[in-house]
Amino acid sequence: MTTTSTQRAVVDRVAPQRPAPRKKRNWSMAGRIVLLLIASVLILGPVLWTLSTSLRPPAESFQLPPSFLPLNPDFSSYDQVFKQLNIMLLVLNSALVTGLIAVGQMFTAALAGYAFANLKFRGRGALFSIVLATMMVPAQVTIVPVFMLIRGIGLSDTLLALILPAIPTAFGTFLMRQYFLGLPSDLGEAAAIDGASPWRTFRSVYAPLAMPGMAIVGILAFNYHWNEFFRPLILTISEQNFTLPLGLVSLQGNLGTGSISVVLAGVILSMIPALVVFMFGQRALRDGLTAGTGK
């Protein structure tokens, strides 16, 4: 485990090189770059197309050939999003739901991960196996009982119905356990000699060191729940509790194809927070998504 991981970190930057005749290599590299560029255009093109449509006057959405670059961007679609859809409320709901889930996951996962890594108690291994096993059952399968439960405790059609069930996280707990296992144990011993209580040892010594791990849990939770559609579709009923993806899909349904550029403007706006995460937390997001898949 240790060797592969370090190797990976090192080799990550040095791609496997093959000694080949110079000319041939240049040609093959050029060919590869062309193919990769085509793939990038296919990936980024649809998003750029959406952006450019949202910046054209709504009437031009169905004009072919289209005016490619809106040189004089027209923001009327963005005005309309604010008029036709209570988008501030959707943003607020999404931010509240996503933020509270992320913070909740960071804390509960850090606490549980610390217990599984550093504290000794009876049944630790078995309990951890159960936590891991819950990841096998897809959320879509348990949604019916979760829906009943939410109704039963009187939370149906509230934002709490979305937040509470999403806070306990098996994957986050797993991630934080691994993170704490990687921290040196001398620190805890030193704190113990100084007379710190176990809680203080966690609070003042380990938790601050585990911040990067908690950040990964938080960013993963943000990415997942900001974009989530299935649970909000089932657990919220009135429009005042809709989150962004749900609000946008229902706007598309209401509008038909009439002013698609308005919906697309909403789609672009909803991407902004995810883009910010992409720019500043891409590394953490990549680490989180692929964590636990190593050998």
């Binding site: 991981s5 770059i33 990038s40 289209p66 309990l127 399968v141 348990t142 019916v144 069930p165 992409f278």
Partner: protein, 316 residues
């Protein structure tokens, strides 16, 4: 793949058991302490995950529409569900979807990962990696909204571009085959980046010396990848395919937003019929039965793949 995975591998873990034990005032205090740390996660998971798992298995044997009291019906729900033509078509659709989408996703991800990891200017490598990763941060619902616009038969940019190579307007969202193709393309467009990330990690862990040795033996290009990369990458391929299959089996957002399962039942998936029988027809027992069947399929595939891996995967 680094901070979390590298961190976890430090060799200190043998000491962990005794860490922070002697400091407490007495044995009594130590005993409940771990449970205080665990309480939020364990209680929350028990209530919102374990109880629902048990409940959905139990519910599968009852007829219940919320309004009247649930009544025990034995295996009736399973019998009805298995004979229901819509449910059957949906499961067939899902299996077909998984086969095509996962094959495309893994093939594309592997090819692009190999191309990106070979000699390339550093800034270009960063650009390509970010570009392929990008769709993962978007909402599947939003992606489906704009893809529906791009695939519009008359005004969509896809058909407009195809017209330049002489392809007449494709009825993407109005025919069964066209709709299935769009759902698959949109799903793969958004998700191949995840497999791509896994393959990048796997490729980076293949030692450079292996390639040097292979090229001394005269292996180049395709042969090098066929005889060195693929065998050494097989553990990654296994993980990537298990995850891709499990995720694809649960597809919902894309077909729901793109086609609502239509035309007819052409793009209806297993999770869509769970959703519809529970929350549109209020047949909660049947919905649970479908869910139990789907879970069993997922578990069987996972088990089968790990069994296969013993035979075909090459571990270093």
């Amino acid at each position: 793949m680094s901070t979390a995975t590298t961190g976890m591998s430090t060799a200190r873990r043998n000491k962990t058991g005794t860490r922070g034990q002697r400091i407490t005032t007495g044995k009594q205090r130590q005993r409940w302490l771990p449970w205080a740390f665990l309480a939020p996660t364990i209680l929350g998971m028990g209530l919102f995950t374990l109880v629902p798992i048990v409940a959905s298995v139990v519910l599968a044997f009852f007829r219940w529409d919320i309004i009247s009291a649930p009544s025990f019906v034995g295996f009736d729900n399973f019998a009805e569900v298995v004979q229901d033509p819509t449910v059957r078509v949906s499961f067939l659709n899902t299996i077909l979807f998984v086969v095509v989408a996962v094959a495309l996703q893994l093939g594309l991800a592997l090819a692009l990962a190999i191309m990106v990891q070979e000699k390339l200017p550093a800034w270009l490598r960063v650009f390509f990696r970010s570009a392929f990763f990008f769709p993962l941060i978007l909402s599947a619902a939003s992606v489906s909204i704009f893809m529906r616009y791009l695939f519009n038969e008359q005004f969509g940019v896809v058909n407009w571009l195809l017209s330049f190579v002489g392809i007449p307007a494709v009825p993407w969202l109005t025919t069964p085959a066209g709709s299935a193709a769009v759902v698959i393309l949109v799903y793969v467009w958004q998700n191949f980046g995840f497999s791509f990330l896994l393959f990048i990690g796997g490729l980076a862990s293949i030692p450079t010396e292996t390639y040097e040795a292979a090229s001394i033996d005269g292996a180049t290009g395709w042969r090098k990848h066929r005889h060195v990369t693929l065998p050494l990458l097989s553990p990654t391929t296994l993980v990537a395919s298990v995850m891709a299959i499990i995720n694809a089996l649960q597809v919902f957002d894309q077909p729901y937003v793109l086609t609502r399962g239509g035309p007819g039942d052409a793009t209806r998936t297993a999770v869509m019929v769970i959703f519809e029988s529970a929350f549109q027809r209020l047949q909660f027992g049947q919905a649970s039965a479908i869910g139990v069947i789907l879970t069993l399929i997922i578990m069987a595939i996972t088990a089968a793949q790990f069994r296969l891996s013993k035979r075909f995967v090459f571990y270093q």
